[in-house]
C-alpha cells in the first residue's frame, strides 16, 4: 500500500501549496479540514503490523478533530468578525508559492541529509512532514490575521503528526492521545482568544496587537 501513502503525502504537500496561495479564509479553513481528514487515514496505512486498534483509534480521533471540530470552531470565530474575509498577507501569494517550492526542495535535501535508518513506509514521509511544518510556520509569520495563525499552527501540527506516523509503535498510544488532547485544547483556547480579541478590538488583525513593547528608554 506504499503508493496509497504516497498519494496521501502528495495530497498533504499539495494542500500546503494551495494554502500558501489561497486568499480567502473560508477556503483556507476548508483546505485545512481536508488535510486533517486525509491525515486521519495515515495511521491505518502506515502501520498494519499488529497494532491495528490503536492506529484506528488515533486516526479516527485526529480525523474527527481536525476534519470537523477545528473548522467548526474557526468558522464560529470567523462568523463573529465584522472584519474582511481576506487573509491579508505580509508576503504576497506568488512570493509565498515560490518560497514554498524552495522550502519543499530544502526539506527533500534535509531528508537526504538525515536518511531514516530503516525503510520508511514512503520516501516522501520525512520531506512532506517537514514541508508541512514549514508551511505552518510560514503561515504564522507571513499572514496578518490571528485566525490564520491558528490555521498555521494546525498545519504545523499536521506535519509533525505525519512525521510521527513513521514511529507510531514507539510512541505509546496514551502519549499520542495526550498529544492529541493537548492540541485540541490548545486550538480550543486559541479559538476562544481569537473570539475575545475580535470582541475587544473589533478586528482580528493580530498585527494590531502591539501595545506591549519596549518603547524608547
Amino acid at each position: 500500500m506504499g503508493n496509497a501513502i504516497d498519494i496521501l503525502l502528495v495530497l498533504l504537500v499539495l494542500t500546503d501549496l494551495v494554502l500558501l496561495g489561497s486568499s480567502r479564509l473560508r477556503n483556507a479553513i476548508r483546505i485545512v479540514a481536508l488535510q486533517g481528514l486525509a491525515l486521519g487515514l495515515l495511521p491505518l496505512l502506515a502501520h498494519g503490523r499488529g497494532r491495528l486498534w490503536p492506529a484506528i483509534l488515533l486516526g479516527a480521533g485526529s480525523a474527527v478533530l481536525k476534519g470537523f471540530v477545528f473548522p467548526a470552531l474557526l468558522r464560529r470565530a470567523l462568523r463573529e468578525t465584522r472584519a474582511s474575509r481576506e487573509i491579508e498577507p505580509f508576503v504576497g501569494y506568488i512570493a509565498s508559492l515560490l518560497l514554498g517550492v524552495g522550502a519543499l526542495a530544502l526539506s527533500f535535501g534535509f531528508g537526504a541529509r538525515l536518511p531514516l535508518p530503516w525503510a520508511a513506509p514512503s520516501p516522501w514521509m520525512v520531506p512532506a512532514g517537514l514541508f508541512s511544518v514549514w508551511t505552518g510556520l510560514f503561515l504564522i509569520v507571513a499572514r496578518r490575521k490571528a485566525i490564520t495563525q491558528v490555521l498555521g499552527y494546525v498545519v504545523m501540527e499536521n506535519g509533525i503528526f505525519a512525521l510521527g506516523m513513521v514511529l507510531v509503535e514507539a510512541m505509546p498510544l496514551l502519549v499520542e492521545l495526550g498529544v492529541l488532547l493537548d492540541i485540541f485544547v490548545a486550538v480550543f483556547v486559541m479559538g476562544i482568544i481569537v473570539f475575545h480579541i475580535n470582541r475587544e478590538f473589533d478586528h482580528i488583525d493580530s498585527d494590531q496587537l502591539e501595545a506591549l513593547r519596549e518603547g524608547a528608554p
Binding site: 538525515l114 531514516l116 535508518p117 530503516w118 525503510a119 511544518v133 510556520l137 504564522i140 490571528a146 495563525q149 499552527y153 504545523m156 501540527e157 509533525i160 512525521l163 510521527g164 513513521v166 514511529l167 509503535e169 514507539a170 510512541m171 505509546p172 502519549v175 495526550g178 498529544v179 488532547l181 493537548d182 485544547v185 490548545a186 483556547v189 486559541m190 482568544i193 475575545h196 480579541i197 475587544e200 478590538f201 493580530s206 496587537l209 501595545a211 506591549l212 519596549e214 518603547g215 528608554p217
Partner: protein, 493 residues
C-alpha cells in the same frame, strides 16, 4: 504517591469550580497547597521507589524541582487568598492604559491555578519524554487563562502572544521527541524509546546526528518556554500583564520546569558523548540571555517587566551553569532554588506596590520604604538577593558557576558573565532605590499604610529562604543537590 501529588490538585480544581463561596474556595486552595507540600516533604524524606519501566518517578532532580514548585505554590496560595480579597468585583480602570475591565470569575482562576500545580507536578515527575511534553504543553494551557485574569486588551494581547509563541515552540519540542525515538530505534525501526533512564543507559547505541537534531529541536522548543534569548519574547509581556502571584509562579516554577526538560535532553547527550555539543549550545544561549537581558535591565521603565527580564537573565545563568557542566551544574541547581525563592518573593512585593500605587511605571513610584514600611524594606533586600550579593544564596551559586568557568580556563566566558551581572545590577539598583527610597512623587501620599500580614509574610519567608541558603545549606538539600548534579552528568564541590 506521585499520582496522589498529581491528582490531589486536579480534584480540588474540579471542586473549586463547583464551590460557590469564595471564602471556602480560598481556604481550600491554601489547604490543597499545604497538603501538596506535606506530600512533597514525605517524598523528600522517604523517596518513593520507582519501577524500572515506570513513566513517572521522582529522581533527585525531580525531587528538587518538585520541592521548589510546591513550596512556592504554598507561599503564593497564601498571598492569593489575600489578594483575591483585594481585587474589586465590578468594573475597574487600569491607571496606566486607562482601560476599563472586569476580572475573570474567581472560580476559574482558582481552578486554573490548581491545574497548573498538578501539571507542574507531572512535568517534574515524568521520566517519559513524551509524557513530559504533554505535561509541559498542559502547563501552558493551564496558565493562559491565569494571565487573562484581568480582562483588558493588554492582558489579552499578552495571553495571545504567550499561547502562540509557547505552543509553536513546544510543538517543535515534540518533533525533537520523535527524532530521539528515531535515534534510539534499532535498525528495523522497532524498539525506539522515550524513557529517559533507558536512553541514558543505551546512550552508546544512539545515532549521533539524529540525537543532535533532536537536541536542537528540544532546546529551541523548551528554551522558548524557559525564556532563553531570543525565544524569550513572550516572557516580559506575560509577566507584566498577569496578576503578580501568577507572575511569581511563572518565573519561579514554570521556567524551571522547562529547564528540567532541557536538562533531561542534555543529560542524554552527555551520556552519548555529545556533552560538548549540547553544553556549548547551552552555555552560548546562557551568555546571550544574560547579555541581552542585562541590556534591557540597564534602562527599565516598568518594574514588573524589569523583574521579567531579570528572570531571563537568571535563566541564562542556569543555562550557563548547565552548559559549563561539572561543578557548575551543581551551582545551577542551587541557583535554581535561590532564584525561584527570591524572584517569587519580589513579584509578590511588586504586587503590593501595584496595589498601593496603582501603576507599574518605575518613575511614578517613590518613597516605598515610607509608605509600605515592610514591603519597601523587603524590596531593597530583594534587590541584593536577586543581584547575587552576599550574604544571600544567589551569591553562593553564582560564585560556584563563575569559579567553575575560571577553573575550566574559560576566562572570557566568566568575564562576559561578570560584566552582564554588573550591568544588570547597575540598572536594577537604580530602579529599586528610586522606588523604595526618598518620597513619593507629587500626588501620591507618603503616609505609612497598614500592610496585611498575608501580603507580607509570604515574600518575607521566600527572601528568608534565600538568606538562609546564603549562610547555611541544610544537609538534606545538599544531598539532593549533589545527587541531582551527578544524575545530570555534573559534579559537586
Amino acid at each position: 504517591m506521585i499520582w496522589a501529588l498529581v491528582f490531589l490538585p486536579l480534584a480540588s480544581a474540579l471542586a473549586s469550580v463547583l464551590i460557590r463561596s469564595d471564602r471556602i474556595r480560598r481556604a481550600m486552595l491554601v489547604a490543597t497547597a499545604a497538603a501538596h507540600s506535606a506530600l512533597t516533604g514525605i517524598c523528600w524524606i522517604a523517596p518513593p521507589a520507582v519501577a524500572p519501566g515506570a513513566w513517572v518517578g521522582l529522581d533527585a532532580a525531580g525531587r528538587l524541582f518538585l520541592g521548589i514548585s510546591s513550596l512556592l505554590f504554598l507561599a503564593v496560595s497564601v498571598y492569593v487568598a489575600h489578594s483575591l480579597g483585594r481585587e474589586s468585583r465590578g468594573r475597574q480602570t487600569e491607571e496606566d492604559t486607562g482601560a476599563v475591565f472586569v476580572n475573570a470569575p474567581e472560580a476559574v482562576f482558582t481552578a486554573c491555578l490548581l491545574m497548573f500545580l498538578s501539571t507542574m507536578t507531572l512535568v517534574v515527575a515524568s521520566r517519559h519524554l513524551g509524557l513530559l511534553w504533554v505535561a509541559v504543553e498542559a502547563t501552558t494551557l493551564a496558565t493562559a487563562p491565569l494571565i487573562y485574569f484581568h480582562r483588558q486588551p493588554s492582558s489579552l494581547e499578552a495571553t495571545w502572544k504567550y499561547l502562540l509563541v509557547c505552543s509553536v515552540g513546544i510543538a517543535l519540542a515534540l518533533l525533537g521527541n520523535f527524532l530521539i525515538v528515531v535515534a534510539s530505534a534499532s535498525a528495523d525501526g522497532s524498539g525506539g524509546t522515550l524513557l529517559a533512564p533507558d536512553l541514558v543507559a543505551r546512550a552508546a547505541q544512539l545515532r549521533a546526528p539524529w540525537l543532535k537534531a533532536a537536541f536542537v529541536f528540544l532546546l529551541v522548543g523548551y528554551g522558548t518556554k524557559m525564556g532563553l534569548v531570543p525565544m524569550h519574547t513572550w516572557l516580559p509581556d506575560a509577566h507584566s500583564e498577569a496578576p503578580s502571584p501568577v507572575s511569581a509562579l511563572l518565573s519561579g516554577a514554570l521556567l524551571n520546569c522547562a529547564f528540567l526538560g532541557i536538562l533531561r535532553a542534555h543529560s542524554i547527550c552527555a551520556a552519548a558523548g555529545l556533552g560538548d555539543f549540547s553544553g556549548t549550545l547551552l552555555a552560548g544561549f546562557g551568555l546571550l540571555s544574560m547579555g541581552v537581558a542585562a541590556a534591557f535591565l540597564a534602562n527599565a521603565t516598568d518594574y514588573k517587566r524589569m523583574l521579567a527580564y531579570s528572570s531571563v537573565e537568571h535563566m541564562g545563568v542556569l543555562a550557563l551553569g548547565a552548559g559549563l557542566g561539572g561543578v557548575a551544574l551543581y551551582g545551577a541547581m542551587l541557583h535554581a532554588v535561590n532564584h525561584s525563592a527570591v524572584k517569587a518573593g519580589l513579584f509578590l512585593l511588586a504586587g503590593n506596590f501595584l496595589a498601593a500605587y496603582r501603576t507599574k511605571s518605575i518613575a511614578r513610584v517613590g518613597g516605598g520604604a515610607r509608605r509600605l514600611p515592610a514591603s519597601g524594606l523587603l524590596w531593597l533586600l530583594g534587590l541584593f538577593a536577586i543581584t547575587g550579593a552576599p550574604p544571600f544564596g544567589t551569591f553562593a551559586s553564582e560564585f560556584t558557576i563563575l569559579k567553575a568557568a575560571f577553573a575550566q580556563g574559560r576566562t572570557a566566558v566568566a568575564v562576559v558573565a561578570l560584566a552582564a551581572l554588573a550591568i544588570a545590577f547597575a540598572g536594577m539598583s537604580k530602579a529599586f532605590l528610586g522606588m523604595s527610597l526618598g518620597r513619593a512623587p507629587e500626588g501620591e501620599t507618603s503616609a505609612p499604610e497598614r500592610e496585611a500580614a498575608s501580603a507580607v509574610w509570604p515574600a518575607l519567608a521566600l527572601l528568608a529562604v534565600s538568606l538562609v541558603l546564603g549562610l547555611w545549606i541544610p544537609h538534606g538539600l545538599q544531598a539532593v543537590l549533589v545527587q541531582a548534579a551527578h544524575l545530570l552528568g555534573g559534579g559537586a564541590p
